[in-house]
């Protein structure tokens, strides 16, 4: 099987590759989101700490 044929997916390329691309997006999003949330939380806690240290 050539690489061209692989990409072509027997004529179903649009359906197959869209499915896998969406899966990739969903899998990555679920990892990135808690990481971002964690960073936001740590920043907020650090801000709060600085504020209370000044007073």
């Amino acid at each position: 099987m050539s690489f061209q044929e692989f990409l072509h997916m027997g004529g179903y390329a649009a359906y197959v590759w869209t499915s896998y691309a969406l899966a990739l997006v969903v899998l990555i999003a679920n990892v990135v989101q808690p990481l971002l949330q964690r960073r936001r939380l740590f920043a907020a806690l650090a801000r709060k700490r600085r504020r209370s240290a000044r007073n």
Partner: protein, 245 residues
């Protein structure tokens, strides 16, 4: 054993243990999903009726399985939180919701992408598709309800009750293809004695399914850890974690 459970229920201990499990489950999931995808996309033979379009199965079926599995975990954890007031169970329940919702979304969309070339339509209001769509709304409802209540313990209780009521939908989804005449095909894998799928097509599916399971373990623990920190933000151990002395 009881001492172990008691210790695990302490937030700081859970936070540390979960933090050690995440990389193992995460890297394991990545490897299995890559192997499963390669096997399913490249090695597995094309289907004699559906050609290469059947390869969508390797995303669609594990995602659909996970959408049901995660819902049951969410409802069970919610029930444990409701009955025994265990904070960690509440957190696992609410951390599961967005992951389950995204797998449900994935199952619906890839099903649609499979249905178009095979059935000639993106969507039909048949029993399987409709009950899976209701599952998505249940997940979104649980998340919205949790988000709408200010006090997080109250929010957990409300969301848990909705999740538990929604469990009735799970057997409906599972048996829908048997109870009603649906366009969706019947089960091919879960006929345990003799699955009607060729082994070289089945193996990548099972690998993918285990990969998705590990992925869920990794991501639910990641979310649970952050949620735990948010709830315990005023406690000593979180303060020390943010700024060690």
């Amino acid at each position: 054993m009881m001492r172990f459970i008691h210790r695990l229920a302490s937030p700081k201990y859970f936070y540390d243990v979960a933090g050690r499990i995440v990389p193992w489950a995460g890297w394991g999931a990545l490897i299995l999903i890559l192997v499963g995808a390669y096997w399913g996309l490249v090695e597995a033979p094309a289907d004699y009726q559906q050609g290469d379009s059947f390869r969508i199965i390797y995303v669609h079926v594990p995602a659909a399985w996970m959408s049901l599995f995660i819902y049951v975990v969410m409802a069970a954890a919610g029930a444990i939180g409701l009955v025994w007031r265990i904070k960690l169970a509440e957190i696992i329940a609410i951390a599961s919701a967005p992951i389950g919702a995204s797998f449900t979304f994935l199952a619906l969309v890839t099903g649609s992408l499979w249905g178009k070339p095979m059935w000639g339509t993106w969507w039909v209001w048949d029993a399987r598709l409709t009950s899976e769509l209701i599952l998505l709304f249940l997940y979104l409802g649980v998340m919205a309800l949790y988000g709408a209540v200010e006090d997080k313990r109250m929010a957990s209780r409300a969301a848990a009750i909705l999740a538990i009521v929604g469990v009735v939908n799970i057997p409906i989804i599972h048996y829908s293809v048997e109870w009603w005449n649906t366009l969706h095909q019947g089960p091919t894998v879960t006929k345990l004695d003799k699955p009607s799928i060729a082994p070289e097509m089945l193996w990548p599916l099972l690998i993918m399914a285990v990969g998705f399971q590990l992925y869920y373990v990794a991501t639910v623990l990641m979310r649970a850890r952050v949620e735990l920190l948010e709830r315990e933000r005023n406690s000593r151990w979180v303060q020390e974690l943010v700024q060690p002395r």
